[in-house]
């Protein structure tokens, strides 16, 4: 799978200033995003997954900054961008984003047709009737029936799932290279969620998009991802192909995350749960950030930060367990069960 990376992140550090203290939100993350792939970033709230992708679009809050590292896109380093004008060349046009809550990401005072045309005029340089035709064809693409009539309506006349379709239409109307979906279906019902995920996948094919999904729902990840990056405490602790991360995970945090899924629990017995809370990123993390919550942590986990160990060409994890000198610790039973039997579906 020799593919050219479309976006390269190198040793990225992001910090925030909060009431005079510094919070180290992203701690030296490197990532290659390949053209045409679908990458899922998984992590709990506060793990830095949203902050990480926001740096690609220059959307960090004003108290945050990239402290170190590079983001290479089209031969340019996005970290060096300082003015809004430079960012406007990237935002929407190159990298577009679909946010979690469709209730808040649309303008309630404009018809949805006008909101989509706005994006088309800005990014595709089409105007008048041409722009209108394009808008109607995009609305059809995102599965909105009767586009002529619906385009004249306002966001409040749409249901949650339909609004998310409109948001996706606006993102696609910019003809971006990369589409970032930040928890695209968390606010939606399960049946609608499945439809929206399918829609994004179809659009990805049609418009040859590269997609990044940010989510905490491992079910969604299994559905959409080619590759998975697991984030914990501002760092990618494991990254690999979808099957590798689900069926052959190496990092204890990935193990813990998978084991605490109710789908893998045995009824009547307690479900595996991770003790404690994630580390406070106001303080420098020593060693493996997950070590304090890992009952099987090694001594070295508390002292030295593990490097990445390669499991295969596509799969690597930041854990000392992969060091040849480490004792052999088997993944928990639930994780092994997932690899051999899979989860119970229905019927």
């Amino acid at each position: 799978m020799e593919r050219a990376p479309i976006l390269q992140v190198k040793d990225l550090d992001v910090k925030f200033n909060l009431r005079g203290r510094q919070l180290h939100a992203i701690r030296g993350v490197s990532l290659n995003l390949y053209k045409g792939e679908s990458l899922a970033i998984v992590g709990e709230s506060g793990s830095g997954k949203s902050v990480f992708v926001k740096t690609f679009m220059g959307l960090l809050d004003s108290n945050g900054w990239v402290d170190n590292g590079h983001i290479l896109y089209n031969g340019e380093d996005l970290v060096s961008y300082t003015t809004e004008r430079q960012w406007l060349q990237v935002r929407g046009r190159e990298i577009a984003m679909v946010l979690q809550d469709p209730m808040t990401s649309l303008n309630p005072l404009k018809t949805i047709g006008a909101q989509i045309i706005e994006a088309i005029e800005l990014h595709q340089d089409l105007h008048g009737e041409k722009a209108r035709q394009e808008m109607l064809s995009i609305l059809t693409d995102v599965g909105i029936t009767e586009p002529e009539r619906r385009a004249k309506q306002y966001p409040h006349e749409f249901s949650g799932g339909m609004r998310q379709r409109v948001v996706i239409a606006i993102a696609v109307a910019c003809r971006p290279q990369i589409l970032i979906c930040d928890e695209p279906t968390t606010a939606l019902d399960v049946t609608i969620q499945a439809q929206i995920l399918k829609l994004i996948r179809n659009l990805k094919e049609k418009y040859e998009l590269t997609t990044i999904y940010i989510t905490h729902d491992l079910g969604v990840v299994a559905n959409v991802a080619d590759r998975i990056a697991v984030m914990y405490a501002g760092d990618i602790v494991e990254i690999g192909l979808c099957e590798e991360v689900f069926y052959d995970p190496k990092h204890p945090y990935t193990w813990a995350l998978l084991s605490s899924l109710p789908q893998l629990g045995v009824k009547g017995e307690p479900l595996y749960s991770i003790h404690g809370t994630p580390p406070n990123l106001f303080y420098e993390v020593k060693g493996d950030a997950f070590a304090p919550r890992n009952p099987q942590a090694l001594k070295i986990d508390f002292e030295k930060r593990p490097p990445y160990f390669e499991v295969s060409l596509t799969h690597k994890a930041r854990t000392w367990l992969l060091d040849p000198r480490a004792p052999k610790i088997d993944p928990p039973e639930a994780v092994r069960k997932l690899a051999t039997e899979g989860v119970k579906g229905y019927e």
């Binding site: 399960v190 079910g219 299994a222 689900f246």
Partner: protein, 311 residues
């Protein structure tokens, strides 16, 4: 499970309407079910299906328009005596979805947890404090936390405070309305375990309201599926997953995201089209299709479902 089960709560032909005259909207339509003592009964549906309204109608927050709610043999909806009302508020407690919004920001944990106690017989301060400490310990928090404010806690800890607040009243029946939906994956497991531990220790009965079927499969004994205010199917959990009959149940089950790429990437989505039912002449009813398996169907559909079960 086969010994005679005691019915703790029974809902019979309940309707809940909102609004007046032209704006009248029937949020819950002719809903009937029984909840047995000591079980976890799940109510699953999409947003707007009326699942929360049912919970709120049972605990007397929303008035019912028709039908009966019978708790331990007594009718508790509509006009009831003051004593009964007090008894109901003590014995039925609720746990809410969002631990960020459901705790009073300006009150200390001590007050939040013990607020319910103020309504009954007056306790001395020392007695009250002792009860708060005990409740906090039971949900895995430290007694010292009583003097802190809600914002000092993480989401999981707050939800524990919400559970402690329900427990202090020594209820028999707890309505948990999406208790873990707002929590992170790793914290969810902690709260789920806490709920089932408490159930074992105290023989609690839960009404668990959620949209997340994978969580429900893990925790519930029986599940009822609700669609647009109408219960469409009710069965034992594994029975429901093995033989879903109503097309809406099937659509819902097929849409659950499974954390298993091999299955998930090849899954077939079933789409529910409500127009498939022809109820113009043959009216649907809430009928038992096999033992402990209820479904909303008319005569023709019932025959079809029975046929499906034979296979």
């Amino acid at each position: 499970m086969n010994e005679k089960r005691e019915i703790l709560l029974s809902v019979k032909n309940m309707d809940v309407c909102f609004g007046k005259r032209r704006n009248r909207f029937k949020a819950v339509n002719n809903v009937s079910f029984d909840i047995y003592k000591g079980e976890t009964f799940g109510l699953v549906g999409e947003s707007g299906s009326g699942k929360t309204t049912i919970g709120r109608a049972i605990i007397r927050i929303n008035p019912t328009t028709a039908g009966d709610v019978i708790f331990k043999g007594e009718k508790i909806n509509g006009k009831i005596s003051k004593e009964l009302d007090r008894k109901v508020t003590r014995q039925i407690q609720m746990i809410f979805q969002d631990p960020m919004a459901s705790l009073n920001e300006r009150a200390k944990v001590d007050y939040i947890v013990s607020e319910g106690l103020y309504s009954g017989a007056r306790l001395s301060d020392a007695e009250r404090k002792a009860k708060v400490e005990k409740a906090l310990m039971e949900v895995g928090l430290l007694p010292e936390f009583a003097s802190r404010f809600p914002h000092e806690f993480s989401g999981g800890q707050r939800q524990r405070i919400g559970v402690a607040r329900a427990l202090i009243m020594q209820p028999e029946f707890i309505i948990a309305d999406e208790p873990i939906s707002a929590l992170d994956v790793s914290i969810r497991a902690q709260v789920l375990n806490l709920l089932s531990e408490l159930q074992k220790e105290r023989g609690l009965t839960y009404l668990f309201i959620s949209h997340d079927l994978s969580v429900m499969r893990f925790i519930c004994d029986r599940i009822a599926v609700i669609h647009k205010g109408v219960l469409v199917e009710l069965a034992e959990t594994e029975k429901l997953f093995a033989h879903p009959l109503h097309p809406y149940t099937r659509a819902l089950l097929s849409a659950i995201p499974l954390p298993d790429p091999a299955r998930e990437k090849n899954k077939v989505l079933e789409v529910y089209d409500p127009t498939r039912h022809n109820y113009s002449i043959d009216k649907p009813e809430w009928v038992e299709v096999e033992e402990d398996h209820m479904v909303w169907a008319n005569g023709a559909e019932l025959a079809e479902y029975r046929e499906m079960l034979k296979k």
